[in-house]
Structures are given as C-alpha cells and as structure tokens.
Amino acid sequence: MLLREVQKILDAEVLVGAEKLDMEVHTAFGADLMSDVLAFADSGCLLLTGLTNPQVIRTADVLDIAAIILVRGKKPPPETLRAAADKNIPVLSTKYILFESAGRLYEKGIVGSAQKVDGRRVRL
C-alpha cells in the first residue's frame, strides 16, 4: 500500500514528508514505549504512536522506520518536526485512536511487523 492510501484511510494530516507519499508500506507497529519499538518494529514499517517528542524520530531513524503516524490527534513540538525533516522521515497525524488506526489499516491489508512476541526476537 502507498503511504498516500494510509493517509486517506486514516484521514491524516501530513506534517512532514508530503513528497514521500508514494512510498510503499506493508507492515506496522504501534506503541508508546520506545524500548518496545526498538525490540519489535521492523525496518520499513509504519510506526503508530501517541508519543510526540524527538526520541520518536531518533527511534525511527535507528530502525529505518518508513513513516510515523501520530494517533489521537497528537501534534508534535517543533523540534520533533525539525528532527523528522532532518532525517527525512514522514510524519502524519490522525485523530483516530491507536486501536481504530490499527484496525482500519489492518482491514486494508497492512499487517503487524510481528504477530507474536516470544521473548528473544532478533535475527529474523
């Protein structure tokens, strides 16, 4: 699915990266705890989160996450948007809650970056 379609499904506002909406995405991970994102998200996945500080961008950058979807209508501070622009990571904001956002994307074919967690999940 194109990021453009993700934006449409979630009725999301593009805060950073309007020029990257034609990127393909297939998987997603959702959490507010960045340690869990580091442990379970994949490179190239969407990150759905309610956290808006610059650490979200740094976490996404460490993992080569494709794009960030801020849920629950969150609007990030300017330093987060600056960091996202620097790292060239698109940031979208949707008013849907995390559960709704995930459900709407899953219904259209986006799957989790992992289905289940079995303790030690590295070396895919």
Binding site: S35, R58, V62, R123
Partner: protein, 165 residues
C-alpha cells in the same frame, strides 16, 4: 545460541589502544543528563557500520544496543563513553559510565524493574526494558557495576552466523 566468549578474551583497553585485528575502533563520549543529544552516538555508529558494508541485521542489533545504552547513560550517569570495535568476525560495543552504579544487577535485569524519573518516561523509555533489550540484541552480554562509581556493559555481536562457520 552459544554463551561465553568465542574469541580470546581481551581486557578492556580504553579508547587509544590499538589492535591490529580491528577493522574499526573508536570511542564516543555521552553526557549524562543531556536528553536532547540521546541518539547521536547510535546514529553515528549505525552510519559507520552501514558504510563498512556490515549486514543489515548486525547493524540493527548494534544500533538498538547503542541507543538503549545511550539512553541509560543520559538518564542515570554523569558521563559515559560508548566504544565500537569492528573485527572480522564480530562487533564489540562497550558502554562505560561514571555514575551511581547498580546495587542489584539481577533486579535491574528484571523486565519492568526501573528507577526512571518522569522525564525519562516522557521520552518513551524507563519501563524497565532497556537492559533486557540490550541483552536480547547481543550474542554475548556482560554487565558489571560498582555502586558509587559506575556501570560497564560489554556486548558482542557475531558477524558470521552459525551457518557460515
């Protein structure tokens, strides 16, 4: 997964020592309390490893390990140093800090156990996952700590996988 060092154990020698087997060696300072800067060193280490042509999952493991280590140093220590050494068969990462140390390492390694402040939790960390993530993303993990002096982590990631040996 094999535990214990699979390479001759070399004592930690600090930033300026030289080993002829190293393909790369460097140390990066991390300031305690500087939350705005957390992630800078892991970003650099990721770039260095990528440019060396190290395989993607090794880069990812190293990036996660150094990022969590940086968050720990920024969150709890006065000052720290993260060193990266790349050898033909493995990547070594050490995170050494001057700080309060950990009095009960077994407890600190327990998932969910944390002494994090609100500031740390606001950043999306401090849920007692960091040391676990570091251990889980390492092939070999060592932790030692002296209360009142600091904590030292040493992590090794094998570049050659079991099937390549």
């Amino acid at each position: 997964m094999k535990r214990g060092l699979s390479v001759p154990h070399r004592k930690w020698m600090g930033a300026v020592s030289v080993c002829e087997k190293w393909l790369y060696g460097n140390s990066f300072p991390v300031d305690g309390g500087n939350f705005d800067d957390a992630g800078r060193v892991s970003g650099r280490i990721k770039t260095i490893l990528k440019e060396m042509g190290i395989e993607n999952d090794v880069v990812r493991m190293a990036a996660v390990i150094t990022y969590e280590s940086e968050i720990n140093i920024v969150s709890y220590a006065r000052h720290g140093m993260i060193s990266l050494h790349v050898l033909p068969e493995h990547v070594e990462i050490e995170a050494v800090d001057e700080g309060p140390g950990i009095s009960d390492i077994r407890l600190a390694m327990q998932q969910g156990w944390s002494t994090a402040t609100d500031k740390i939790r606001e950043m999306g960390f401090g849920a007692g996952m960091g040391l676990n993530n570091i251990r889980n993303f390492s092939d070999i993990f060592h932790i030692s700590s002296d209360v009142g002096s600091g904590t030292r982590l040493k992590m090794i990631i094998h570049i050659l996988r079991e099937q390549d040996r």
